[in-house]
Amino acid sequence: MSVTIYVPRDAVALGLGANRVARAIFAGAERRGLDVEIIRTGSRGLLWLEPMVEVATPEGRIAYGPVTPGDVEALLNAGLAEGGAHALRLGKPEDIPYLARQHRLTFQRCGVVDPVSVVDYREHGGYRGLEAALKLDAEGIVAAVRESGLRGRGGAGFPAGIKWNTVMLAKSEQKYVVCNADEGDSGTFADRMMMEGDPFNLIEGMTIAGIATGATRGYIYLRSEYPQAFETLKEAIANGVKAGVLGANVLGSSKAFHLEVRLGAGAYICGEETSLLESLEGKRGIVRAKPPIPALKGFLGQPTLVNNVMTFTAVPYILEHGAKAYADYGMGRSLGTLAIQLAGNIKRGGLIEYAFGITLREIIEDFGGGTASGRPVRAVQVGGPLGAYFPDHLLDTPLDYEAMAAKKGLVGHGGIVVFDDTVDMAKQARFAFEFCAVESCGKCTPCRIGATRGVETMDKVIAGIRPAENLAVVADLCEVMTDGSLCAMGGLTPMPVMSAITHFPEDFQRRGPMSVAAE
């Protein structure tokens, strides 16, 4: 009888030797005359356990991890194929507390299914959202999205239903749906995991969006730093066209939706939606002034719905289970679940999908188990390179758009990067300016010039040259950038800088000379 073994092909698992593990299982099984089928899945998001291998048994799947190629022989000898006992045996993956405690709505299939199989996707509940949507009219679909309370998961948190409604009402021969998959924030990998592990969830969400807004063409703008996601998406789209879930006649509805994936070229600013559209049109990724908003004049001047991967992938669940089922999660005006990404210096990093309202401390301590180095947590950056650095006394802040804003921070794309007590916050503040200087599109002066002046001024502070006066210059500069920049790149760079200065003032005094990072 054939045994099915699941080995992830997620980039993290590959980076930790998953291909060599798969080859070793195949070779070892062959030598033993075992009939083994290896299915390459995405990751469940328990990233400290990768590569996490699972085997199908009559009692359900049994997981082992972290598995190195050198462990495979011993695992096969211990009866891996039957779920046998071994030091690396983790039991049923869904019973592992890290996973069992989560609210997996959007990520329910990630790490479970064969990512490029339409059949597997449908067997695990896929396309029920689209089927439900096809029974509604456009207004009905948009109403469901609006009533779910879903807000744009890219970082800005704009109500998705309002955006969808604007595009739906816009009159045009050709409208577009564009997925912002330019996940450039450090500490974020939810989009990557979804595209590598359950791309049909994204495809389904975008198809629903297309049908709701009357857009027959869609693009996924993917960052080039994700070569595995690119291959998986291309394969999934091709299989989707063959299976009739994409193309001229989606699920036999006589409605069309054509989808293509496009590669960015290493520019962080292209995660800003107007810059992304310029890039998609084949131009430099220069930010556009708004208005006009992309919902009315977007790609090639046509009405365009631009949403993040996590926004689109929340939609199939909402349509299948109803707006209320989704809105029952969360708090205040932040409804539903957030894909939290726990990263940096952390013992148990990974993907934690949880209702809004969980505190940073619960995430870092209960899920994460503290730092990887074993040293105390000193600073936590939330929401990417433009997010604030929080000290210990702010870690009881709940993850909620308004609560984070009240502490001068942001949820962003849900990335949490943990630093231990060896971190030099003056260096981190300098890096925030340096990153902005490298990645600024150059259109507006506060960002283009401000970032470079910021690096220079921080260098003076770090060198101990009149620190008080120079920090006053930094504060002034940050005010100009916040108030005068065209987009969030220049507008939010002051957030990591000022939070570092405010919460960790001791790192900005008593400085000696330091080496300056190259770039």
Binding site: A11, V12, L14, G15, L16, L47, W48, E50, E183, G184, S186, G187, T188, F189, R192, M193, S224, E225, Y226, P227, Q228, R262, L263, G264, A265, G266, A267, Y268, S279, L280, E281, G282, K283, R284, G285, I286, F299, L300, Q341, L342, A343, G344, N345, I346, G349, G350, A372, P385, G415, V417, V418, D420, V423, Q428, F431, F435, V438, A517, A518, E519
Partner: protein, 156 residues
Amino acid sequence: MQREPWSEARATAIIAEHVHLEGATLPILHALRENFGYVDEGAVPLIADALNVSRAEIHGCITFYHDFRRAPGGRHHVKLCRAEACQAMGSDALHAEILAGWGIDWHETTADGRVTVDPVYCLGLCANGPGALVDEMPVARLTRDGLQAALTEVSR
């Protein structure tokens, strides 16, 4: 990775394959980069003609994006993540060691032409840092030995 030497005829053919796309510039530049390992100056007028835009627009586009090299690089391309999550795991010191070991700086190629190294800001390996991409193969929990092993693997 095996690369073809620059050829105007081949470039013209590659451009023609993509010219029908909406917003064809980036797909064309990526295809040229993949085929030749870089975007040759000679491609600029060819793309401009095919898309009916000015050479300046194509030049501007090539120089805006980090991905498009304008000269051939090494046989292998290493991207080391310099972003915050990797910094929290000591990437700065590791990168300094790696670069010193090769005797080069960012964006440079080793003397034997084997490796070009570029900084990158996030590869999405943030819970298992430091991260790197060797050609297109991800490397998590990067060490100097791990990088050498990855280079050996992609050389096979």
